[in-house]
Assembly symmetry: C4
Homo-oligomer: 362 residues x 4
Amino acid sequence: MTKEKLTSSRKMDHLRICSQTDIETGTALFDDVHLVHCALPECDMDAIDLSVEFLGKRLGSPLFIAAMTGGHPDTAGVNRVLAAAAERYGLGIGVGSQRAALEKPELADSFAIVRETAPHAFVCGNLGAVQLVEHGTEWAERAVEMIDADALCIHLNFLQEAIQPEGDHSAVGCLDAVRQLCKDVKFPVIVKETGNGISREVASRLWDAGVSAIDTGGMGGTSWAKIEGIRANERGAAGDKALRELGDSLLTWGVPTAVSVFEVAGTGTGPVIATGGLRSGLDIAKGIALGATLGGMALPLLSPALCGEEETCRTIDAVHYQLRAAMFLTGSPNVSALQHARTYITGTLREMIGQQPNMRMS
Amino acid sequence: MTKEKLTSSRKMDHLRICSQTDIETGTALFDDVHLVHCALPECDMDAIDLSVEFLGKRLGSPLFIAAMTGGHPDTAGVNRVLAAAAERYGLGIGVGSQRAALEKPELADSFAIVRETAPHAFVCGNLGAVQLVEHGTEWAERAVEMIDADALCIHLNFLQEAIQPEGDHSAVGCLDAVRQLCKDVKFPVIVKETGNGISREVASRLWDAGVSAIDTGGMGGTSWAKIEGIRANERGAAGDKALRELGDSLLTWGVPTAVSVFEVAGTGTGPVIATGGLRSGLDIAKGIALGATLGGMALPLLSPALCGEEETCRTIDAVHYQLRAAMFLTGSPNVSALQHARTYITGTLREMIGQQPNMRMS
Amino acid sequence: MTKEKLTSSRKMDHLRICSQTDIETGTALFDDVHLVHCALPECDMDAIDLSVEFLGKRLGSPLFIAAMTGGHPDTAGVNRVLAAAAERYGLGIGVGSQRAALEKPELADSFAIVRETAPHAFVCGNLGAVQLVEHGTEWAERAVEMIDADALCIHLNFLQEAIQPEGDHSAVGCLDAVRQLCKDVKFPVIVKETGNGISREVASRLWDAGVSAIDTGGMGGTSWAKIEGIRANERGAAGDKALRELGDSLLTWGVPTAVSVFEVAGTGTGPVIATGGLRSGLDIAKGIALGATLGGMALPLLSPALCGEEETCRTIDAVHYQLRAAMFLTGSPNVSALQHARTYITGTLREMIGQQPNMRMS
Amino acid sequence: MTKEKLTSSRKMDHLRICSQTDIETGTALFDDVHLVHCALPECDMDAIDLSVEFLGKRLGSPLFIAAMTGGHPDTAGVNRVLAAAAERYGLGIGVGSQRAALEKPELADSFAIVRETAPHAFVCGNLGAVQLVEHGTEWAERAVEMIDADALCIHLNFLQEAIQPEGDHSAVGCLDAVRQLCKDVKFPVIVKETGNGISREVASRLWDAGVSAIDTGGMGGTSWAKIEGIRANERGAAGDKALRELGDSLLTWGVPTAVSVFEVAGTGTGPVIATGGLRSGLDIAKGIALGATLGGMALPLLSPALCGEEETCRTIDAVHYQLRAAMFLTGSPNVSALQHARTYITGTLREMIGQQPNMRMS
Ligand SMILES: Cc1cc2nc3c(=O)[nH]c(=O)nc-3n(C[C@H](O)[C@H](O)[C@H](O)COP(=O)(O)O)c2cc1C
Ligand SMILES: Cc1cc2nc3c(=O)[nH]c(=O)nc-3n(C[C@H](O)[C@H](O)[C@H](O)COP(=O)(O)O)c2cc1C
Ligand SMILES: Cc1cc2nc3c(=O)[nH]c(=O)nc-3n(C[C@H](O)[C@H](O)[C@H](O)COP(=O)(O)O)c2cc1C
Ligand SMILES: Cc1cc2nc3c(=O)[nH]c(=O)nc-3n(C[C@H](O)[C@H](O)[C@H](O)COP(=O)(O)O)c2cc1C
């Protein structure tokens, strides 16, 4: 198979595996976050303002539809459904990696349909950091043009690359490439992980490089160690056994999303998207109380999107209802009030974000 | 159905569901409170004084019969049995929300029976904060008159309202209405939650508004998220699915009772009633050691009350026996000594009432 | 039944129940104590000196045979076996409560056999604090004479009294009686609990009253709440239901032994006996590392004692072997070195002996 | 049986039991160490440098093949396979205790094969501390000569000795013997435990005595309490029952490896080998992040070695792949960078290496 073919058949593999198998591992630690109930909320639940300002645009709610697909004709349907929902609710939405379409322009339609269907939504393009290193600003601009994007997400997914037989194993130059991109372009640049989280140190370097926002893509939801392990298993080749074992040993590798949100929000003034294992409007509320501006979901929207627009809207309504209730019951009439809601932090999350025992002298 | 009919059929729904199904969720965290054994108690267990001063009246014991019912002719029996026990033991007793009878005066009998049966008990009226906002001091006074109450409880139950299809979704004006009520009336005003707890911040605002006492109504006992979820399920309508899902996601929402008692007792000088998940005389003792003056029970008295007076008295005897033993074994000859008993605080409670990790800089 | 008959038939009830049923509840928290391994112990395991000075006498090892029985002719055999072992290994040994024999002198033989069999052992008499209040120094001296005791244990067992139908419910005057006794007599007075532990506060009062040693008798081993619950169950009378329920609610009441040892050892300079849930020589070592001088065992020696001397010696050999190994592997050539062995304290024990969160302002 | 025969039949007992039975107990606590994911590693996974400097020699990777066998003709095969792997990957490798061959020179071949097969590897001799006390520098030098060793490991295994019927029970003089050895010889001296760990105190004494490196041999992997218990069981003699019980009570005795690495690395400047319960390349990475230079494995290499060279290399490849991935994903281009990787420390490990609650005043 050529490299291009590989990329787009991998896309379909991923959608199929994700919608049929349990591909979640570890915990994002939202169970260790307890929003403090406000018995006297002094607001009207039905008048709660879910809208939120994000990179200069007002979105209908903090729910962000995280990057999932595109790049294969069969994925256009999913992207159309998600875009229709984004348009209806005024949500932010990301497309999957545009690499395939940049390599093979005839695949661009499966991405472009997003902007066609959602002329007013906040649409984000998507490119891997490795592709950015290889192709620079040019590809970034082509990716944005392809969908008339409001912003471009650069994804970091080195755990996945490490355990893909066809993976890119070098991360050299990524930070410089991001820095250069931020200098070169006018559109906002968002950097995102895809399930292993952004630490305090990485966040600092990214803000420094000029990124506009960071998406945690933390550990505890969709697990690429799991997905690639399943793919390796399906291929069954002997040489893949080591990859499968590696995947197994890395199943819970990464910064749990709640920890990541806490760390990233503590390092800068740019907005944070909490993604990775958010499974209800309550989790979005917790993410926001930990410091995020938006809460992203990928996997929870995949099955509904495969069903169609109605099921997708029903799912989003439920998420919004839960979020609205959480805001009401913490006495938060709007999202910025929710960012100041008090929480109890318990268990492992408490240990992870508390002071770590001193390691060594030197 | 008219609004009035809705209110009183809901009452019967609640009694039926509560006595037949497991409607408790989460934990009040009393298992994390350990009263320190006093091997040398230097008192006589049989001479221990269970009586306690509450809002100027001496009660026979700290056991408070929490608000449950009234407002439907069929509920009069339960109220009569509970009142008879209150009279016998000199306990404080609350009636359920009087809204139905204020809307439809012919339902007043099911409440009035409490005072008729318990001429000497400390009887508390009951009104929702939302009704207070709508009808002001007038309804409050009518509620008190209806049962010649010693005090009026204003209940806060916004989680329940949020997930009831017919719920009141606005909490605007509640604090002002409470403040106005405290100014207008001579009887003591008690504010109570119904299962999701009162936080430190809400308590401060309430003391400030002039309330005489606060009832924590904390998380860990009767759960309205559970009850309303069951009701939604029984109705089965499609539109209710979202409500049911919301109920599910909020099953453990709220301040656990032990945390709530600790926080509320730390904010003011008025007496605190620990309610929500107290299931033995030992739990009452723990609530008192955490800072409460009384310990309320609703659900544990419902089945006995449906059986009759004898079973109710047997239950109360057992609770008193356990409380007396706990007082004896902590060397507490009376309730105020028990309030100073030493405790070990462990587990999640310890984490929740200890210093929380610092959230954000700004 | 007369009061005397009640006392001695209760003795046999206890032995029977304890040897046939699981009567242990809660945890003494020794699992949360981890002795730090010394890889380079620089001593000879076979030359380790198990002997220990206790109240002026050198004992063969820190294993103390805790008070169990006597007062019924059938119990003499058990006492003889235990005494033979005490004599053989030079151990301290306590007899069960001598009340029955003080009330009914013909029962004295079942106690006196201990001294007859163990002329050189450190033998402790036993009397309840309530009996001391009632009968004063006279009974104490008769108890000591009865077995030519080296010391007298005064036991505190108010939880048991609280849930016995025939129990003494008044603890008034106990501390004064102990203080008077310490003044009046020349023999050392030891105060002991029987399974619910001695707290820091009680220990301070006891040292102050002049006791020579304290035996923690902490929670986590033999449980009188359990035993009396079983007895109540066997009687089956309706009136006993409340007692049974009380027993159930108090199953884990008390200061866990490890906590108790830590607290008592921190309050004074007299020696501490760690008793309650010690189940191996390792537990004795842990008790000593927490501050005790001796480690007592009751239940683990009961079944062996009912089998006979050989099985009892085998059990003691195993305990000694484990203790010796623990001393060797912490590099402790003698018991006082073991008292300074380093430990890791984890889990609930760590929470219980660490600083407790501040309770209330006042 | 003569003493010599005993020693070498014990060797075969050990190999057989270890490869057929579950002989691991407790936990090394590596699950409580979480390497912080670096989403932007800025290095090339395929260019990561696994090599590491150890006692003046550059090794191919931090994987150390821990001492296992030799001393019986049948063990030569295992040693040959392990040595071949060491040679191939440039690893450090230890042989099992050379005592048998020092007592009975015709057994030397099963050790010498290691150097023959691995002319360039870093080969470590092995002698028990007790043998060193008995035979001094002479045996140490003969052990080194036997295999032309680069260093000599002196093992401390007093728990095992304590529960072996034929065990050496005296540890007197070991530290002096080690100090003398360090003075007398030119080759580096490494002191190692065999599964119960080295504490801070012991480490300090060892550095002081002049050792070049310490191998933690911590608790949580191969358990000699378990192995000797199984052997005692197989012998079945009555006298062994006490040994078996002792083994049982010491199953989790010892300093967990993660704790031991942390403590030992905090005491000196010599390199630390983390051994005991390391079961993946990830565990090696964690050991290094806690302060170790090498990570040793014994048991995980035994079954592969019994299978042959191919399986052994496959196992080592997998370990290296995992280690390489962990280095890549923490952004560590080489081992010394990995030593500075940030970790989250949670659970029991956090409690064990944090401040311990204050024990006693005196
Ligand atoms: C089927 C699927 C495909 C994905 N494809 C991409 C992608 O192409 N680019 C990207 O940046 N993230 C991708 N992601 C990662 C998501 O954007 C998100 O960060 C991650 O799944 C965690 O969120 P979740 O736990 O809600 O799924 C994908 C996720 C899924 C489930
Ligand atoms: C059947 C039932 C009906 C209740 N009705 C009322 C009510 O009308 N007004 C009110 O303030 N609380 C009401 N409550 C709440 C209780 O007063 C109490 O706060 C709550 O049940 C927690 O206590 P518990 O866990 O002991 O049941 C009701 C509780 C139950 C179980
Ligand atoms: C059968 C039995 C009888 C006991 N009788 C007495 C007694 O008469 N007096 C006393 O002070 N303690 C008595 N005890 C309590 C023990 O001395 C000891 O404090 C308690 O059992 C805790 O230790 P253990 O967990 O090792 O059993 C008795 C214990 C048992 C098991
Ligand atoms: C079968 C076997 C034999 C061993 N023999 C020795 C030995 O002779 N000398 C020694 O120092 N350690 C010996 N060890 C201990 C190992 O070197 C290592 O410290 C210990 O097994 C912990 O590592 P593990 O959990 O990876 O097995 C042996 C271990 C095994 C499994």
